[in-house]
Structure formats: C-alpha cells, structure tokens
Amino acid sequence: MPKLFHRLFVANRGEVAARIARTCERLGVTPVFGVSEADRDAPYAAGQEVVVLGPGRSDQSYLDPVRLVQAATQAGCTALHPGWGFLAENPLFATLAETHGVTFLGPPAHVMHLMGKKTPAKRAMGAAGLRLIEGSAGILSGPDEAREVADRVGYPVLLKAESGGGGRGMRIARSADEVEGAYAEARAESMAAFADDRLYLERLVTGGRHVEIQLLADRYGNVVHLGERDCTVQRNHQKLIEESPAPGLDPAERSATLEAAVRATRAIGYVGAGTMEFLLDRDGRLRFMEMNTRLQVEHCVTEERARVRTPEGLVPLDLVEQQILVGAGHRLAFTQDDVVLEGHAIEARVNAEDPSDGFKPAPGRIARWEVPAGEGIRVDTHVADGYRVPPFYDSLLAKVIAHGATRDEAAERLAVALEGLVCEGLPTTAPMHVAILRDAAFRANAYDTSFIPGWPAKEEG
C-alpha cells in the first residue's frame, strides 16, 4: 500500500461524506468529519471522530472556510477532501487550506479559479483545442460588437454576464433588433447583482444533450480520461439520471473529444479528478461548456464501468482513492491503455422530494430505510433507519447505480432496484425514476435537456 495521509478531514456532509470515509477506511486513513450541529448525530458520523463546526445553517458551518480549515488543523489532519457542493470549487478555501498546512484534494487554486471564470476558461479550453459554443471571443466592447457577433453566429443568441450565475444577468435576443435591448438589460442586471457590467455572447442552443468527460491527472502531467457520461435527464439544471456510455454519440466525435479533453487538462496544469461538461448539439458535435474542478455526484457511473488492467488482472477503480493518491504526490499507476470501460451503467439520484407535488423538499424523519441489492446494483447512501433529513441542506438520500451488459439491461435492473427501495415516512423521487427508466422515449433515446422523458407520467385511462 502506498504511503498516504494518516488523518483526512472530510469538509462536507451526507452522502459524499460517507462515500469519502468508506475509501479512507479501506486505505487505512482515519477520516475526521467536520459536522454542523444538525449533522452531529448523522449515522455516518457514529463512532467516528467529529469536529463540530457550528450551527446547522451552512454559512456558519460548511460554507465557512476559516472554521473548516481551523477544524482540520486542530484535528491534526494533513489533508482535506471538499466533497462536492459547498466550498468544493472555492479557490480561496483551497489556498487557505494549503497555507495552513492542510493539503487540499483538488486542483491548484489558480487552476480552479481560471476554470471558474467564464470567458477565461473558454479561451483556455479553445486554445487547448476543444470546440466551443460559437460566440464572442471574450468580453464584448458594446452593443455594436454584440450585433456583429450575433449576425455571424446566428440567432437566437444569449447575452451573458461574465460574473453571472443562477440565470441572472442573462438575456436572449432572437433577432438583430433585440440585441441592443437585451444587451442593456443584461448589463444593468449584472451591474446591480454583481457590480460588474462585462458581458459576453453565445449562440443559444436549445435542447441538445449534456455529455461530460471524467478526467484524472497527477502532479506530473500524466492525464487519463475515464470515458464520458450522459446527464441529459435534468430538471431545472439538476441532474436526475446519469449514464455511461453516452447513447447515440458518434464514435469518432467521442474519441476525438476524449483526446482533446486530455490534452486540455494537461495544458492548464490540472491535478486530481475533474469533469469537463459539453453540449452535444443537433449536429452531433460536442462543445465545451465548463469544467467542474471536483469530484461529481455521478462519479459512481464511471466507477461502475471502469477497470484497470494490472498484472493481477482487471481491478476496480475508486476515484476518491485516486484523489488521495494524487494528493499525496503519487503518480498515476496506470496509463490510458490500461483503462477498460465495460458495459453500461446508469445512476438515479433519490431525493427526499415529492415529484408529484412540484418536487417539494420533504425534510423529516425516515422511520424505516431499506436499500435494494441484486446483480449489478450499487447503492451509495448515508441514510439509516430513524435518520432525520435536516432542513438546511440538499435532500439527496441515496444514489442507486445499476450496471449491465447493455443499456436496456442496466435500465431494467435499476428500475427493479428502485421499486425495492423502502423509505417509510418521507416521499422520494424513486417512483419518478422508475417511470423514466421504463419510458419508451428514454429507452429509444429520443429526448433532450428540454424535457424529462416519461415525466410527469401520463394520466392512465
């Protein structure tokens, strides 16, 4: 076993905290959980070392970089896993950890920062050879340039705030006449919300599919991809179902983009696990949208397919383990040629939400919790009987992942598994997933990001 960290701080909660701890325990690394008061009695922390960060509200616990780093150093941890969400993509958190003696399991802060900035990230990726969504080369000088670019790329176009987020500072222009007004509105909204009036422009792509590439890099310029995932089944940009390989993706486009993504990852000096997100347009082309500089919720889809060829035969690949190894300075122990991707994997995110009531979050106590098992089924969860879902955080209860030789086999296995899930006391999204997985449009791969196949379910009768 390679030399690793003795103690690792888990700067997150819920499912990802449990996920990280599982790998730590397998590797002989002691996990220390930073928990809010609301998570103090969480099942995953039972019998483990915990440091209470502060109140349940995340701005006083999981979103406070100073508290987290202080807790990590006080707990004697030499490494910190940020999980996903919260501060996982916050470069200040990464720098703060590094400058106080805690190694951040993620890319260097400045690379994270670069990928978090819209036009610089696009420019860097374009320069590294990835195809982009057509638009302005960078920040627009004014409405005149906006119109010029829009005329060139074709309408409708999207004017977007450089500092924007959450849909704010964004306007659509459907024709040349609308550009000036859209520019002015987006600019004013961006100035008010972000004190920054810089805008850029992209062709508006409606529909299309969401495809992403899992990447892994060590500190020495060795980079591999672990294939792609399709996350087209979304609701309000929240992914519901993820799978790999991406159905219907042209093999030549796939391999060219995978190679380009590896080159781009190396070019920016990326370290650790990361994901590049692409839009698959109607012409079957993959266009770079953004890079997530962290482990993703849906990483398990990749793990269920990926095997590494070793002298002892094919062995599974654990992305959290790889993050820890890379953080401790190890080289990737395998090359691209050693990576084997087998079969088809599909993941469903089970949330404590009522899909038949507008996906209303349903915090509360789970009286009985039983997870399915079966051939090709994996369940990642932090929940146990009697678990109380706190009102402060997202409502992810579990991820159920099915693997099969074919897409149909994986989908059917997953549907059957989800039917066997027991969650007494709270509604979950499992019934929705079953409906989607059994839907003809889903099976026929005839959908895009603009609607959910098979949901809302058609009225019977």
Binding site: H100, G101, D196
Partner: protein, 575 residues
C-alpha cells in the same frame, strides 16, 4: 510555521459602505479620473495628426506605434512620466510627455523598459526634463535588471532651452553614464535606430549590446548642417553616418534592416534570446488570482476630502490575491497595517496607514488619530521594513500620512531618533520598494514611508495625492502666528489690517493648495505617474512581477526561512 498564514481580509462593499455614499464618492473621483484619461489622451496625441502624417509620409512609424508593435499581443504598455512638462510652455511650443515615451512593456513574456523618442514632437528632440525622464526610466531598469530597449529617433537637444538640460548633474550627458552603469551591472540594452541620432544622441545606442539601424537611420557626432558650417563641405547626414558606414565600415552598429517593422521584429527576437522570467519559478505551485473583493471598487472607497476617513483594510483587500493577507505585528502601532500578501501569485510586503481613530496604548481608554506616525508605528515600520529587506520581499508602501506626531511627548519619546532609524533602514534597504501616494503625503511622513526622495523604484500618485511639507492652512497660521490669538482668530480690530491679514492667509493657503496638486508633482518629476484607483492592482502586479523577473542579483528567501516568522514569534509569543 513555514507556511504563510494568510487569512481573509475585508468584506463585500455593501457591508461597510452604503450605496449612496459609495455612489457619491465614486462620482467625485470619477470626474477627476475622467480628467486624467482626457489628459493622457491629449499627451499621447503628441503634436497631433499633422505630425503623425509627416512621420508616416517618410515610411516610418510613430513612437507609440513602434511600442504597440513591439509588445506581446494582448498586453498593454505601462507608461511612466506621462505628464512630465505637462502644461508647460517653451516659447510657443509644448512638449507632451517631454518628447519621449518611457514604458514598462511585456516583450516575449519578459518585462522590459522601453525608451522611445517621440518623433511626433519636434522630431524627438530632448527638452528640459527629457534627460531626467530618460534617466529615471534607466534607473528603474537598472534596479530591477530589466532589459532596456531604446527606440531612437532623436534630432538632438532642443537648443533654445539648452541651458536647462546641459550642464547639471542630471544633464543630458548623464544618460550615457546610465548606459554605462546598466552595461557594467549586466543589464542587457538593445538599441534600434530609426532616424536621426545626432550629437549626444549618437552615444546612447553605441553602449547598447545590440544596435540595429534602418535605412533611414544615421548616427553622427555632428550633422551635415553643422559640418557644412564648420568645414565648408557638402554632404548628407545619411551619407556620413548611415547604416552603410556604421554597420559595414565603422562597426558602430550591428545589423542593417530595411524598415521599422523589421527592426521591431528583430528586437523581439533579441529579447527572446535573453533568460526568461524567474517569476513562474518563484510562484511555485501558486498562480495569480484576482482579489475576492473587486479592485474596481477602490474608485469609490476613498473619500475625496483628505480629512475624511476610510477603512484601510478594505483597500488592502482589493489589492492582494484572493483578498488573503497575513498581518504581521497586528497589536502594536495600530495606526499602521504591515503584512504580507500575494500579488500575481508572488509574495510582497505591504504597509498602509489606517485612517480615523485608533486606541492610544499610551493613554488607556483614549483614542488618537491614525494616519500619523507615533513611536509604536515607527518602530513597527522599521522592524517590518528590515525584515522584508532581509527576506527579499518587495515592499509596497501605500501612503495616506499626515506626518509625525508632534509636541512635548513626541520629543520626550525621541521620535526624531525612531524616525531616523526608519529612514536609515529604508535608505539602506536593497529589496525593491514601490510607493503609492493614495492621498496625503505630508511632511516627514512622506519621507519616512519611502517617498520619492528615498529612492523607491517607482512612485505612483492618484488623482487625490497631495505632496506637501505642511497643509496650506497650517502654513497660513504659522506665517501670521503673531497676529492671531490661541484660536487662530485675527487679533487686530483695524479693518484695513484685518483685510490685509485675511487676504494674505488666503493667498498662502491657495498657493500651497495649488502646489499640492498631483499634476504639479507629475510635471516636475516629483512623482512617476498618476494612475486611476481601478488600475492600482495591475500596477502592483507589474511592480511585483518585475521584482522577481531577474535571477541572481538580489536575495530572495523562500518563506520557510523568512525572518518575518521570527518577528511574529517574538511579538505574538509561541502558540
């Protein structure tokens, strides 16, 4: 601790400054900075379009066009001394930028100093203060070991004003001494001769390591006109000192090129042959990350009125990478902030004056005005300055200082001696120091905090800077001291005398006020450049990166062995 324990500094603007005040301050500064932009444009236009066309008609480029083609695409040159001679008349003529462009410029990824005669202003003649401006740029290059590039197109000294730029210690000839010193200290110099290069001007390219000449260039000790007068011979300057003579026969130049574009491409190639910047090495695994709190907000954080306070921490937060800062010696001399942050991924020491009131440790329960030098603060500055010098950290001095504390207590405490210790420290430091006059730069405070007389590599002013020995009002009171009572009211009841005194005091105050104007300072080389608050961060990035570019000429310690850590343990105790 071998780590540099930087912590979050500052806060979102709306948490400490309401929208209305911010807007008002931004507007007040905005109009001053709009004037700055207008004047920059005015200076950069030289003598105007007619002269640009005259240059183009000769098949040549203007000085600023040459500069634009020389630098890396996507970068901006950073001109210094833009306002030297601004507003000054020489007979009927003006000399925008003193007829020479001096700029930090990025060429092939290296910071260089470019000195380019402005051929749209009297054919690049040297005006009064042109030599000083050139020497100032050479000095910056010498201190930072930056490759120095001369774009020569100079008709010689502007002779009607020759007295003012010939005989003194910084007369024109001192430029060639600077050429020699740069060479002696191993700073690469490259000269491109694009046109006239007469008399004294002839020496400037010669000492350079590489000299290029275009077909329109000539270098002569004396031009054809002068020889005709002295020796009654007919000839052309190009004939006696052109590239055929100097490249092929005399060897006074190295390479003959057809035109401006080719010459500029050749200079880029020369710079590429030089060692690359060491900045990425010193950054290590860090990279430049913008401050978390946006630097552009600086243009609304400082009130225009120098008597109004602001939060200096919020200024710092908008200058350091990620708004992360390690405050060193936080508990003594609270009227100052000293500490370390990254700028563009590279470590730098910062000094800034707090404003408003701070606790007075010598009189418990009482407050005293910050923005002034007291014993604790002076000692802190000296210790911090020495430690940065010891560690090779560039020091950025951000001044808004009204001077030393005065009075019986100050004298009894020996502030003269503490102040002298600080001055000694700053005078003998070898680490690069840069000074920014945020607002007030008054009295000995300006000196003690590395004002221009203490040889910072670069001193920047803002549109709010006020350099003075004392405020106008104070001087007026001092001048009429004997005629005023203890509340500074005029004693006499005689209306005529009263009016005279009032008039006199007003005139004194107005004159000082006018002299404190940053434009006056910039015109006379009492400061190097006036910049917008929103640009400040990018200027500091330049200063710090240029400090780390050249390797092997100065001490640069890695953070493990910083004496700053020792200072921290000694003062803060063992934790």
């Amino acid at each position: 601790m071998a780590h540099v324990p930087i912590r979050p500094l500052g806060a979102p603007r709306e948490s400490f400054l309401d929208e209305a005040t911010f807007g008002r301050q931004r507007e007040a500064l905005g109009s001053l900075e709009a004037t700055l932009e207008e004047r920059r444009a005015e200076v950069q236009a030289g003598w105007g379009e007619k002269y640009v066309q005259r240059v183009h008609a000769k098949g040549k480029l203007t000085a600023r066009e040459r500069l634009a083609r020389l630098i890396d695409p996507g970068t901006e040159p950073r001109e210094i001394g833009t306002f030297v001679n601004y507003g000054e008349q020489f007979g009927k003529l003006r000399s925008p930028a003193a007829g020479v462009v001096t700029a930090f410029a990025r060429i092939a990824g290296r910071w260089c100093m470019v000195i380019a005669n402005d051929n749209t202003v009297a054919s690049g003649a040297w005006w009064p203060r042109t030599p000083e401006k050139i020497q100032r740029a050479q000095e910056m290059a010498r201190r930072l070991r930056l490759p120095t590039i001369y774009l020569v197109d100079c008709s010689g000294l502007f002779l009607p004003e020759q007295r003012r730029s010939f005989g003194g210690a910084r007369g024109a000839g001192h430029i060639f001494k600077m050429n020699a010193l740069l060479s002696a200290e191993g700073v690469p110099q490259i000269a491109g001769v694009f046109g006239d290069c007469i008399a004294g001007g002839g020496y400037m390219p010669i000492i350079s390591d590489r000299v290029y000449m275009t077909e329109q260039a000539y270098m002569v000790i004396a031009g054809a006109a002068l020889i005709k007068g002295a020796k009654s011979q007919k000839m052309t300057s190009l004939g006696i000192g052109g590239p055929e003579v100097h490249v092929h026969r005399s060897g006074c130049a190295d390479v003959r090129v057809p035109d401006d574009e080719t010459l500029l491409a050749c200079i880029r190639r020369e710079v590429e042959r030089l060692p690359s910047s060491a900045a990425p090495f010193y950054r290590g695994d860090a990279g430049s990350i913008a401050p978390l709190q946006p630097p552009r907000e600086l243009s609304g954080i400082l009130p225009k009125d120098h008597r109004e306070a602001y939060d200096a921490e919020q200024v710092l937060a908008r200058l350091v990478d990620q708004s992360l800062f390690w405050e060193v010696l936080p508990d003594v001399g609270r009227e100052m902030i000293t500490g370390v942050g990254r700028v563009g991924g590279l470590w730098a020491g910062f000094v800034i004056n707090r404003q408003g009131l701070v606790d007075d440790p010598e009189h418990l329960g009482k407050k005293k005005p910050a923005g002034s030098l007291y014993r604790g603060g002076i000692a802190k500055l000296a210790a911090f300055s020495r430690a940065c010098n010891d560690d090779g950290l560039p020091i950025l001095w951000l001044q808004d200082i009204s001077g030393f504390d005065i009075g019986a207590e100050a004298e009894a405490q020996g502030l003269l001696a503490y102040g002298s210790s600080l001055i000694y420290t700053n005078s003998t430091n070898t680490t690069p120091m840069f000074t920014v006059l945020l607002r007030k730069a008054s009295g000995a405070g300006y000196y003690a905090m590395a004002g221009l007389p203490y040889d910072p590599i670069l001193q920047l002013s803002t549109v709010l800077s006020r350099q003075s020995v004392m405020e106008g009002r104070t001087l007026a009171i001092a001048t009429y001291n004997t005629k005023l009572d203890d509340d500074f009211a005029i004693l006499t009841d005689d209306p005529a005398e009263r009016a005279e005194i009032e008039e006199g005091m007003k005139a004194t105050e107005a004159r000082i006020e006018a002299d404190m104007d940053p434009w006056v300072a910039a015109q006379r080389l009492d400061t190097d450049e006036i910049v917008r608050f929103g640009e400040l961060r990018s200027w500091l990035e330049l200063c710090v990166e240029a400090s780390y570019q050249a390797i092997g000429h100065r001490r640069v310690k890695n953070p493990r062995i910083w004496s700053l850590h020792d200072l921290d343990v000694l003062v803060e105790g063992v934790r």
